[in-house]
């Protein structure tokens, strides 16, 4: 699996593959052997190339994490590559003005959760996209009015197709 991790304004590519024990994780160019174990509520022990680190992982909305380690607390965001692409094309979702939100991967619209003209808050579901055999709720990345919806229930979409517009 390929993900993007954003921390202190920097983005890192993270590629996760299965390993005999745990995972191989490649951060940018650096490859690690990682064994991860949940040792308590919100706490995880990571063995990274044999070195142990214990981290607290507090999930916030939508791929945002507060990670605590011995050093202190850090905000870390995990994104899927196509989300990042969409964000870069259409501006960050916490911008103001009009934002068009695209499908980040091919799929099918399973359900519309709002109607055109409806006000939504950050994190509120707008529609449900089925992709890779998984249903993914597409949530509003900022508060606003869903001014246009470009898709209909049951409709297939391609990655990059516009889904809705928020203003």
């Amino acid at each position: 699996m390929k993900l993007i991790v954003r921390h202190r304004g920097r983005e890192r590519s993270v590629v996760i593959e299965n390993a005999p024990e745990g995972y191989f994780v490649t951060v940018d160019e650096r490859r690690y052997e990682v064994d991860s174990a949940a040792t308590g509520k919100a706490v995880r022990s990571l063995l990274i190339n044999g070195r142990q680190t214990e981290v607290g992982l507090h999930r916030r909305r939508n791929g945002h994490y507060e990670v605590t380690s011995r050093g202190g607390r850090e905000d870390v965001e995990v994104l899927e590559p196509l989300t990042l692409l969409a964000e870069k094309t259409h501006g960050k979702s916490d911008d103001h003005g009009v934002t068009t939100v695209d499908a980040y991967m091919p799929g099918r619209v399973v359900e519309l959760l709002v109607e055109e003209g409806q006000r939504v808050e950050t994190g509120q579901g707008v529609l449900v996209l089925e992709a890779m055999k998984m249903e993914n709720e597409i949530q509003a990345g900022r508060p606003g009015i869903v001014s246009r919806i470009f898709v209909r229930r049951g409709e297939p979409v391609e990655g990059g197709d516009a889904l809705y517009e928020i203003s």
Binding site: R12, V27, Y32, L46, V78
Partner: protein, 503 residues
């Protein structure tokens, strides 16, 4: 004999008193506020009684109600802990009136030491050095000018009724005096309802060194050595140790003897602390006397092997101090850090919330005095001190190494705490060398020192978050696969809900 003890406090100190009482075979009861039903004192006590809602004024500060409760349940003594009613002469009197023993000093000693000006007078009379100046209230600017000239600049203007670092103003030069005097008076009037002000010599960068004493009702008072409490933030202690890294045996003997004189001057009994400022020339000045058990009493216990709460109970029963008090031989070095639910890097803003995960350190030389456990909520109503971590070592270096180890073991998730600050402090070269004064911590923090270094490899953070993201998603997918072919409206909703909460 004390057979049933009511503990009129909460959190770690209520637990501390409970432990001593249980080890002495005393039946224990605690009071609790509605916010503290799940508190550790309730769980560990034999009996527990709700005394009102969360705010202290409606629960832990209701002296008469607590004295009445003690009578109702047949308790024969009340231990007030520290804070709340511990130094209230009125509460001690209410207990006495109800026929309940107050575990602490006599009412008169509480009253005498409760007034700054009166206690200064008593100390002067007893030959205990006090900070020069300030033996009278200053009623107008002329008196203030005369007093400051007499004392010599810089001087500190202080509200007579002040406390907790409020109502203080430093005056370095004569031309600053008039404005400072007016400001201090008006602050004193508005904050404490009493505009009397006095002037004292300002001691530059002093250390805070205090002496633990204990007295019995037969007139015997002994000093149990000193504690160094110079690591403070805005006049609130955060780290304490015993012995002081700068007090030699001669100075110790002198300060201990002064502390005993101070206690005897007010016919003190029970445990108490005489606080001094120590200047860079090794001169010490009486600051105030705390007429109660102190937060930092465990460091004295760890080096002396004494149990001060047990001793308080003995004294309250009228027993003479035992032979162990004649032959106090401190061993090694002890350090305490106070764990506050505060963010040290955002101005110590309190951080209430739920303790989601807690691992206390353990092993040799580690003592936890703790009022929390995993799953409990840290309330907004009370002092944000959650626990005290105390370590002992053969010498100061071993104690600090052990403290560093223990702080690394300690893990608390759910609220922000001062733990990260202590992890840096315990490795700070000034602290390690014993170079400190009561303003050092504030100075270092203002200068941006004692910051957590970005010692965490950023790749570790990326790996941790990415793996969690992937695994959370995998759980969701697995759930979907299970339900393949049985989709309905409910499941779609359920799935979405789990995604919402999960991601």
């Amino acid at each position: 004999m004390i057979d049933r003890l009511l503990i009129a406090n909460r959190g770690e100190i209520a637990v501390r008193v409970l432990r001593a009482a249980k080890e002495r075979g005393i039946e224990t009861a605690v009071v609790f506020s509605e916010a503290d039903r799940k508190g550790l004192p309730v769980i560990l006590a034999d009996e527990a009684y709700c005394i009102g809602p969360g705010p202290s004024a409606k629960s832990y500060l209701r002296g008469q109600a607590i004295a009445d409760l003690a009578k109702t349940i047949g308790a024969d003594a009340v231990h007030p802990g520290y804070g709340f009613l511990a130094e209230s002469a009125k509460f001690a009197d209410q207990c006495e009136q109800a026929g309940i023993r107050f575990v602490g000093p006599p009412v008169a000693a509480l009253a005498a030491m409760g007034s700054k000006l009166e206690s200064r007078k008593l100390m002067n009379a007893a030959g205990v050095p006090v900070v020069p100046g300030g033996d009278r209230p200053l009623v107008n600017l002329e008196e203030a000018i005369a007093a400051a000239a007499e004392i010599g600049y810089p001087v500190m203007l202080k509200a007579s009724a002040g406390g907790g670092g409020k109502g203080l103003r430093l005056v370095r030069r004569p031309d600053e005096l008039a404005a400072a005097f007016r400001a201090t008076r008006s602050e004193a009037a508005s904050s404490f309802g009493d505009d009397s002000v006095y002037a004292e010599k300002y001691i530059e960068r002093p250390r805070h060194v205090e002496v633990q004493i204990i007295g019995d009702v037969h007139g015997k008072v002994v000093a149990l050595g000193e504690r160094e409490c110079s690591i403070q933030r805005r006049h609130q202690k955060v780290v304490e140790e015993a012995p002081s890294p700068v007090v030699g045996s001669e100075l110790r003997a002198e300060m201990c003897s002064a502390a005993v004189r101070a206690a005897q001057a007010v016919s003190y009994c029970s445990a108490g602390t005489v606080e001094f400022l120590l200047d860079s020339n090794g001169r010490y000045f009486f600051l105030e006397m705390n007429t109660r058990l102190q937060v930092e009493h465990p460091v004295t216990e760890m080096v002396t092997g004494l149990d001060l709460v047990k001793a308080q109970l003995d004294v309250a029963e009228g027993l003479p101090l035992g032979p162990e008090f004649d032959d106090v031989r401190p061993r090694g070095h002890a350090v305490e850090v106070r764990l506050y639910a505060e963010d040290p890097y955002r101005g110590f803003v309190p951080s209430p919330g739920t303790i989601e995960f807690l691992r206390l350190p353990a092993g040799p030389g580690v003592r936890n005095d703790c009022g929390i456990y995993e799953g409990i909520e840290v309330s907004i109503f009370y002092d944000p001190m959650l626990a005290k971590l105390v370590v002992w070592g053969r010498d100061r270096e071993q104690a600090l190494n052990r403290l560093a180890r223990a702080l690394d073991e300690l893990r608390l998730e759910g609220v922000q705490t001062t733990i990260p600050l202590y992890r840096v402090l315990v490795r700070d070269s000034d602290f390690r060398a014993g170079r400190m004064d009561i303003e050092m911590l504030d100075r270092k923090l203002s200068a941006g020192e004692l910051r957590v270094a970005s010692q965490d490899d950023e790749d570790v953070l990326a790996i941790a978050a990415a793996l969690d993201f992937m695994e959370t998603r995998a759980r969701t997918t697995a759930g979907a696969a299970d339900q393949a072919g049985r989709r309905d409206r409910w499941r779609a909703t359920g799935r979405r809900e789990s995604m919402r909460s999960g991601l």
